[in-house]
Subunit: 360 residues, 2 copies
């Protein structure tokens, strides 16, 4: 239960923008960082104290990494379970624990876990074979989305069906892999909760995020979300129930659909810092990235209070080429991730528009 | 006049906490960083993309450094002028320019420069020999502070005199070096301005800082300062006049004494980011560190608007050992600099207490 002192080294699995922002947050608290990634010249490695470039199943590299760090976290949930276990065997805390990854890595186990935790989910059917899709689609009302159980993010591994004729194409599109078919949800709004559980069991949730996705990728997040106090309270209670049941340590994000009557359906979780929480860097004393580092280091959680209203806009692909104009927006903070190649749809950066409260 | 694109490399001379916070700010804008310092295992090098550890007059190391960066800045004003000139000869912009360093490195030339720019200063006498001190002290009213002309900071190279009997001791205490003797100023308040001039000539000033020093070292800064609007306006006007006259590019801080009638005396300047501007990290969209990186990279300056009230407290020496308690303060942001050794009086970190305005 003891807290790592400043000067300790935080290990980060993953070299992308989330790893980069985690490394920057760790530095603000006086920690050193060591990034482990399979990507040469990664965004996170360029701001970390040390970096290892190796495959996630390279046992020698993992052993050397484990020997150099005091605790480990990760920036994405598709880390092989064996990687986390190798680090645990080396005696280093991995937070959150690999068990949480196992739940989040499979959409079917995730849905079942939500239900067990008391968080409502939309109708769905597990799909293992093409010929299950037709009957399942009929059961779900004729319109549904087929999602691979594993390795999906940012709209990847998903295909919409609007009739039985779409079954074969959708099955092929997701790679004919184990999947779930989810009924179309008539939602009025997408919201998410970003929250943390500390090693001491304390809980801290940021204010609810209202999210707009385009082509399956988050486009913007606005805080405060235009939901009722009761809906916000329910979303945070579901989140806490899920985190408690996972015996979680760290930051976790859960996405919900809000229905017309204010009820929520739990969509999916990310056992890590989340794009919909990026605004916390600029509108809170303690960001989601610092909160994650605090939890990983066994520190007390920070105050998640917000001190202005805010909208966060993602910069995808060539949108980041407008940096010169974006840098001139008043009351705005630009974040660029140092990625060399602006492929279409790639998350290159984001900016927040801050809407300060009137001066008292 | 062209702006460096994200992905370019910003060179930073100096490896301390200011260099560290500059490197973190550069990373947020997508820049790589290269720190040049004579200190092994420095705070700034541990968060930078590349680091060179060499003496500031190592010509081969400077040449290699120059070849690897796109523009250069520095974290402290006592960089040898020859260092900046070597980098300029290698064809790399150094911002602010070495000329500004020359003015700031000598208290006598600095005082004269302030007067030429129209900024009032307190009474002082240049001292080159011990036997000048007695008459000068009498002229200045019998109480004065003797300061070395060069290499002074954080109260170092200073000695107070309360009578002619103190002359020999004070002269010895400052190393019998060329000095100035400054009359004691009956100030009611110490304030500072942190402002930036962009490569395009644009000017941006943060709100005035009200500073409390203890034993010659900044203890805390509160914003807003309790000065009249007229006094704040005058301080910013003096700052701008000085920066314009220096043909400055980057962030500069000027410390003033406020007298009982609201008039200001210009005390000293720092041609760099400044301890009294650290609160801008947490209470502004664009911090003084980002502002400096923007100026160095030829970007438009950012909006210096503040969105809450704030007090910044320095953590000197063992004060940083209270990190566990400090981490639990609500509405507070802790910054630790990653220094290994908490020597008495050493700047180990700071924290800001944020006082949000009431929600509208």
């Amino acid at each position: 239960m003891s807290a790592l002192p400043p000067g300790a080294t935080i290990g980060i699995l993953g070299g992308g923008q989330l790893g980069r922002m985690l490394a920057l947050a760790a530095a603000e608290l006086g920690f050193d960082t060591h990034v482990f990634t399979d990507e040469p010249d990664s965004p996170a490695a360029r701001v970390s104290t040390a970096a290892t470039v190796a495959a996630y199943d390279n046992e020698a590299a993992l052993a050397a990494f484990a020997a150099s760090v005091d605790a480990v976290t990760f920036e994405f949930e598709n880390i092989p379970a064996a990687t986390g276990e190798a680090l645990l065997r080396a005696g280093k805390p991995v937070r959150p624990g690999p068990d949480c990854l196992a739940v989040a890595q499979d959409r079917l186990s995730e849905k079942r876990f939500f239900v067990e935790a008391g968080a409502p989910v939309g109708a769905y059917v597990a799909i293992d074979h093409l010929d299950q899709i037709g009957p399942a689609l009929a059961e779900l009302g004729g319109e549904a989305v087929l999602k691979t159980r594993r390795m999906g993010y940012d709209g990847k591994g998903q295909a919409w069906l609007r009739g039985a004729a779409d079954a074969a194409g959708a099955w092929a599109a997701i790679g004919a892999a184990p999947a779930i078919l989810e009924a179309k949800v008539p939602f009025v709004r997408e919201v998410s909760v970003v929250a943390a559980l500390g090693l001491d069991g304390s809980f801290a949730a940021y204010d609810l995020n209202e999210n707009v996705h385009q082509a399956g990728i988050l486009a913007r997040t606005t805080v405060p979300a235009s939901v009722s106090a009761a809906t916000a309270k329910a979303a945070i209670a579901y989140t806490r129930a899920i985190m408690d049941r996972l015996d979680y340590v760290g930051v976790l994000a859960i996405e919900f659909f809000e229905l017309a009557d204010g009820a929520l359906l739990t969509n999916e979780m990310a056992p890590r810092v989340h794009n919909s929480g990026h605004w916390t860097l600029d509108a809170c004393a303690v960001s989601q990235f610092e909160q994650q580092i605090r939890a990983v280091a066994g520190w007390p959680l920070g105050d998640p209070a917000r001190f202005c209203d805010v909208t966060m806009h993602n910069l995808l692909g060539e949108a980041a080429a407008d940096w010169h104009a974006l840098a001139q927006k008043p009351s705005s903070k630009l974040h660029l991730y140092g990625k060399r190649d602006a492929r279409p749809g790639r998350k290159m950066g984001h900016f927040t528009e801050l809407k300060p409260w009137p001066r008292g």
